[in-house]
């Protein structure tokens, strides 16, 4: 058994909001010397492309844990809030 985040939508349910609840100012990330969000996010929402020096953030599989909000020391978010009521991750058992 293994957790494979490529298959996260098979075992965790989401009602994805097209209006994102987190908006990342990706240009801030280019100056960042830490990028703790990349390894700390439990849903792999942050990907850093070293060759092109580019950060990609996707909110689709976000588990709304708050880790990125806590570890980012540069306050790179122009929006960080919980999704609108009824949207986002939906735990069924857990």
């Amino acid at each position: 058994m293994k957790i494979n985040l490529d298959e996260i939508f098979d075992y965790t349910s989401f009602n994805i909001d097209r209006d994102p609840h987190i908006i990342l100012e990706e240009n801030v990330c280019q100056q960042c010397d830490q990028r703790a969000c990349v390894n700390c996010c439990p849903a792999a929402c942050y990907t850093w492309d070293e060759d092109n020096k580019k950060m990609t953030f996707v909110h689709d599989g976000c588990l709304e844990c708050g880790t990125c909000y806590v570890v980012c020391k540069n306050e790179a978010f122009s929006r960080w809030r919980y999704p609108r009521g009824g949207f986002g991750v939906a735990f069924r058992m857990t």
Binding site: M1, K2, I3, L5, I8, Y11, T12, N15, Q34, A36, N39, C40, C41, P42, A43, A44, L63, E64, C65, G66, T67, Y69, V70, V71, K73, E75, R81, Y82, P83, R84, G85, G86, G88, V89, A90, F91, R92, M93, T94
Partner: protein
């Protein structure tokens, strides 16, 4: 615009306990929850400890609440990549009501608890994310929702919105960034397994349950692993301190995947199937990260107030959340009787928390986060314990060393004598 006697933000254990307490006393209560039902956004390990706070209002709690198993067996394990050493406490006294703890599922349990508040007369508004607090002359007088910018007013707002508590922050009760050393990220795999297989593997019958806390094998990251039995599934998860995790390249799921392959764990999980993957933060800093607990028209409860105790042996949160919710509810009832919603009147909330186990225990364990900040606990000590056991039991045709010399050598090799003495002293003080 609707006017209530009290608004509770968040229908977790803290919020529902507060709403239940106030509704029973006849107050007009709004219970706001961002999930499409209470519990939809919530996960934990987890073991629900005995809820003394609610035994007055729900005397037959264990007969009516949706519980998985009650815990009779507690195990602490020190683990390395290939070996583990466990201490086991099997307690018959925990096998009869009032049980000491239960495994539960939050989407089921939280929904049930919120329903108790609704039956007592509270108004539950689900799918309602609070976005802002309303102020008038410096006091908090209500909240605004993300949906249609709807406004709700009440002379008292209770922030029960969990670990990040944007409500406490927006009300000015928490300032500055969170310290990553004070927060742990938790990930959990819920694993499907037939009840009889669980019973056989863990030595249980009927509704008996087991909990296992594991130290070590977290890639040197400060943190720990838990393995709990539900009725017909297992909860396997890790709590990792963010301040420590962010200094490494590890991801939480790589660490958990490695652990699932550890031979002793793999045997327990064999044949299991992943049902759900979830994550949440835990305010492990406890007393050291507490916001202001009250101000004019507002009180902060549960995780929002960092009322959480993480010792490595145990994780207490829901019991503290429920107790703080009940006390906040009672304070609100008195405030309504006196028609006084000022800071002065609401300071009773903090006083009563200080007189209860909530702040007493939190203070008692205030140094534990410093003790747990010691990196040696998570790698060197598990290696020391397992290394000693290996030498004691190993038969390889060579003469054995004298036990005391062997222990001294192992300590010198793996920890260092000075470090060991400092750790024993620090550990003792923190307890």
């Amino acid at each position: 615009m609707t006017v209530f006697d009290a608004i509770v933000v968040g229908a977790g254990p803290a919020g529902s306990s507060a709403a239940l307490t106030m509704a029973k006393a006849g107050l007009k209560v709004a219970l706001l929850e961002r999930g499409s039902f209470p519990g939809e956004k919530n996960m934990f390990g987890g073991v629900l400890h005995r809820l003394t706070a609610l035994e007055d209002v729900l005397p037959n709690f264990w007969d009516i609440a949706p519980l998985e198993r009650h815990i009779v067996k507690k195990t602490l394990t020190f683990m390395t990549e290939g070996s583990s050493f466990s201490v086991n406490f099997d307690n018959q006294a925990a096998n009869q009501p009032p049980y000491n703890g239960y495994t539960i599922f939050r989407p089921t349990f939280d929904r049930w608890l919120a329903d108790q508040a609704v039956q007592a007369g509270a108004t539950l508004l689900s799918s309602s994310t609070v976005d802002e607090v309303l102020r008038e002359g410096g006091r908090i007088v209500g909240v605004r929702l993300l949906r249609d910018n709807a406004e709700l007013r009440a002379p008292i707002v209770i922030a029960a919105d969990g670990v990040l508590s944007f409500v406490a922050r927006k009300a000015g009760l928490r300032q500055g960034r969170f310290n990553p050393d004070h927060q742990g990220v938790c990930i959990k795999a819920l694993i499907d397994m037939p009840k009889d297989v669980i019973d056989d593997r863990f030595g249980l019958t009927r509704r008996e349950g087991a909990s296992n806390e594991i130290v070590g094998n977290t890639g040197g990251v400060r943190g720990g692993t838990f393995l709990y039995t539900n009725y017909n599934s297992l909860s396997l998860g890790m709590v990792l301190e963010l301040g420590s995790l962010m200094k490494t390249d590890w991801t939480p799921y790589h660490l958990l995947n490695n652990l699932m392959e550890q031979p002793q764990i793999a045997k327990l999980l064999r044949g299991g199937r992943l049902l759900e993957y979830s994550a949440h933060l835990v305010p492990k800093g406890g007393y050291q990260m507490q916001p202001e607990l009250f101000s004019d028209g507002i009180m902060v409860t549960g995780d929002a107030a960092a009322l959480c105790i993480v010792t490595g042996l145990n994780l207490e949160g829901i019991n503290l959340a429920a107790q703080s919710g009940v006390i906040a509810g009672k304070t609100a009832i008195v405030a309504h009787q006196q028609r006084d919603f000022s800071k002065g009147c609401l300071s009773n909330y903090k006083k009563q928390l200080e007189d209860s186990f909530v702040l007493k225990d939190l203070k008692l364990y205030r140094r534990t986060p410093d003790m747990l900040h010691n990196d040696r606990i998570y790698q060197q000590y598990p290696e020391l314990v397992c290394g000693m056991m290996d030498e004691i039991y190993r038969i390889d045709g060579r003469p054995k060393a004298k036990m005391s010399q062997m222990i001294l050598r192992q300590v010198k090799e793996k920890i260092g004598l000075k470090n060991m003495l400092a750790d024993v002293y620090g550990g003792w003080r923190s307890l």
